[in-house]
Amino acid sequence: MITLKDKVSSFFVFFLITAAQIGIGVLGFQRIISEYAGHDAWMSIIVAALAISGVIWLMYRMLGHHEEGDIIGIHRFTFGKWLGGLLSVLFAAYLVLLATVVLRTYVEIIQVWMFPHINVWALLLLILPLVYYIISVEFRTVVGVCFLGVVYPSFLLLTLFFPLKYAEPTNIMPVMDHSMIEIIQSSSLAILEFMGVSALLVFYPFIRDAAKSQKFAQLGNGATMLVYLAICIVSYLYYNQQELTDVIWATLGFWKIIELPFMARFEYFGISTLFFSILPNIALFTWASARTLDRTFHAGHKKMALLVITILFLVCVGMTDRMGVNIINDVAGKMGLVVLFVYVPLLFLLNVVRRKVKKNGS
């Protein structure tokens, strides 16, 4: 069904994973993760990344055993047609939720920072056809968007040098001032920034030499960690913990102090450029969701893509205030924890048992 022409070289897994993970989170995760571990929260990022790396390993172990090699196949094999199908639909819903979080938060930032009176539906009508254009035909296009979505906005990392002028090393001293428990509690909040990795469960069969691509996936996860770590440490050096509780989007705060000879107020440019970073998120999640639905119901990828995008549109338009955005962020974070650290290991175990049973049976 998936021909060699549809597959992408395993090297692109690096970009797929990184693009799926880095998104809207970079703008304001510093305040959220510092809730328990305070100025030591940067260590939680490392802990979170290591945990995710374990999850990736688990996913590869599980996916490699199946010919079709995606979560729909595994569901069907493990739970049978009906229960498996239901779980696949729930997984698709989870992916749509991830896409919604990214898109709605981005729209929220645009409302606060650029256009306070913008019509949400009008903006969505500009963005969503683009998403459909990306996901409707080939997976190759999604990969291309992910690739450019990592490469092009990466120059924004250079802006981290500007706040270093005002860095205050005492802000992160003393190191290890918090207990291990607190750091782990914080890392459970940091997982939200790494959740994109769930898309791997769907796009795995589109990778050439998929079984050997794990090193690229791990590298991608590592790259994500480095980016978050750099942003986090610079933020904690620049803001003290008191200030940090007051700023919602700490990274945008950096951009406010940047002055270039040809450009003041870098944040307008930065937020616009960030669109290239959130687009792969939305595209990958909606694509994965549409593919999951299509594999479950066999109704045609284009129709499912249209359905997913319509749902995305309705949910985003329906959510009108800041509270709603906060709530879906929290819900998505908790769901992500459950999916990655409870459901995936459980599925792995059940899958192993099912395989054993089937082997003995035959």
């Binding site: 992408v8 070289s9 090297f11 645009i110 650029m114 256009f115 913008i118 903006l123 500009l126 963005i127 683009l130 254009y133 990306i134 035909v137 080939e138 190759r140 296009t141 990969v143 291309g144 968007v145 690739f147 450019l148 002055e259 270039l260 000879p261 040809f262 450009m263 003041a264 107020r265 307008y268 440019f269 937020i271 616009s272 450029t273 669109f275 290239f276 687009l279």
Partner: protein
């Protein structure tokens, strides 16, 4: 008896043919007595070469001794003559520049001699892709001359030429050229297949083929490169690409191509690699500038004037003080004015065209600023944008660049920098989805191939380019080893 019947039929047919042909303009019919029989010579005045007629054909009919047309054919110093008994075939041949000789009582009855009049332009200097250094030959309209220009540079037996015919009415000759053993057969087959599938009645120029065999017809971007330089065609054939020649067109198509290739002038290969790379980069930056600078001006002045640094603000404010229009109106008026100038300049003869440039550029520009209709900052911006779009070496691509500026200006007005970014993302995704003869158009950027960057944004020295570009999937990836390596 049988022979007599046949002769009578031929005589009847011939008389019918003559009456038919006499209705045609420029038909000439001559009769000569030879031995005991009568020789008829007929041709269309406008389609035969009078020199060949006088020099080779007529003297031989009168001076030589022969009993039938088969003997006469042996005397003719012209190749591809035909003997024909069927009168109905003759008329069709006449249009293609043949001359017929009919001898009463002879069998076969007709001798057809090809002496077509070839109106050819001399091979001249390339005008669109002119380069100061390097070869100075350009393709002409005649397909055989064009093929010859390439063959001269690639005198190897592996050069394969597949001749096809397209256009239900025009029946234009098309040749698909590639090098066996280097080019990927799949690319050649795709090209041949698509040309065979062309179902239009007229193919007057290679642009007709370019449009009908494009991978995505609803794209503003050309997906096959066209060039008028035989040296460029020879060079891309060696890289493993495919060239498509169309009779009657001085532009030869080549594919599979990539977006970057449209911005590489062939002159780059005649200059030192550092100089060439620098200029190629400048050209690419110029193109980005040309597309983005006017929309940026509109976006910043409409929505985000805070972006303008404090030192620059007074300059901008004073230049816009008098202007009664919003930035979008101002920008569109000026851009349209530039487009008008360009169209007017392109349609007028060269000498008058220069005057237009002066009138348009200096008089209208200065006057509109003085009258306070546009700001002089925008005048500079639009001027730079126009200059930038002229640096594109391929004319068709520079037209595309002119066009996509306008929707960008409009989204910039509506959503500022955000709108610009979203629209650029649209273009980017469109380019990601485009293919050229089935190969990705954005290569080597995506699919990312570091090796192919040796001749993309920059051009490395020739001896550093050991491998042919992978984008075209050449059959032999490595270029032949150096001479001393075989020892």
């Amino acid at each position: 008896m049988n022979r007599n019947m046949e002769q009578k039929k031929i005589k009847r047919d011939f008389e019918k043919l003559i009456t038919e042909l006499k209705k045609k303009d420029g038909f000439i019919h001559q009769q000569v007595k030879h031995n005991d029989s009568t020789i008829h010579v007929g041709y269309l005045k406008t389609s035969v070469d009078p020199e060949k007629l006088q020099k080779y054909v007529l003297p031989r009919i009168q001076d030589y001794v022969y009993n039938d047309l088969t003997e006469l054919e042996n005397h003719m110093p012209i190749a591809k003559t035909e003997l024909q008994n069927d009168a109905s075939k003759v008329q069709e041949k006449l249009v293609n520049g043949f001359l017929f000789i009919h001898m009463e009582g002879s069998s076969p009855a007709f001798l057809l001699i090809p002496i077509p009049l070839d109106e050819k332009r001399q091979v001249s200097v390339p005008e669109v892709e002119f380069s100061v250094v390097g070869p100075k030959e350009a393709f002409v309209e005649d397909i055989d001359t064009n093929l010859n220009l390439v063959r001269k540079r690639l005198a190897i037996p592996e050069l394969q030429i597949e001749k096809l015919q397209v256009g239900t009415v025009t029946k234009t000759a098309v040749a698909v050229v590639s090098i066996k053993g280097i080019a990927d057969e799949e690319n050649v087959n795709t090209a041949v297949q698509r040309i065979n599938d062309v179902d239009i009645d007229q193919v007057i120029d290679s642009s007709f083929v370019q449009e009908t065999i494009a991978d995505n017809k609803n794209s503003p971007f050309p997906q096959l490169l066209d060039t008028e330089r035989p040296d460029r065609i020879a060079s891309i054939l060696v890289e493993g690409k495919v060239a498509i020649f169309v009779d009657g067109s001085p532009h030869v198509l080549l594919g599979p191509t990539t977006l970057i290739e449209f911005f590489s002038a062939f002159e780059d290969y005649f200059l030192n690699w550092m100089v060439a790379s620098a200029f190629r980069l400048i050209r690419l930056i110029a193109v980005f500038f040309s597309i983005l600078i006017t929309p940026m001006y509109v976006a910043v002045l409409t929505h985000h004037f805070e972006i303008v640094p404090n030192e620059m603000m007074p300059t901008l404010v004073s230049s816009r003080e008098q202007v009664p229009f919003p930035p979008i109106m101002e920008a569109i008026i000026l851009e349209l004015a530039i487009e008008l100038l360009r169209e007017a300049g392109a349609k007028l003869p060269t000498k008058v065209g220069q005057t237009i440039g002066i009138v348009g550029g200096i008089v209208i520009g200065t006057a509109s600023v003085e009258a306070g209709l546009t700001s002089n900052v925008l005048l500079i911006v639009v001027g730079i944008a126009a200059l930038g779009s002229f640096t594109t070496p391929v004319y068709k691509m520079s037209n595309t660049i002119r066009l996509i500026r306008f929707p960008l200006i409009i989204v910039a007005h509506v959503y500022g920098l955000l709108g610009l970014t979203i629209f650029i993302a649209y273009i980017m995704v469109h380019l990601l989805r485009l293919t050229s003869l089935g190969r990705p158009f954005m290569e080597p950027i995506f699919p990312f191939r570091l090796k192919d960057f040796k001749d993309a944004l920059i051009r490395l020295p020739f001896d550093k380019q050991h491998k042919r570009p992978y984008a075209v999937r050449p059959s032999k990836v490595t270029r032949p080893p150096a001479k001393d390596e075989g020892k």
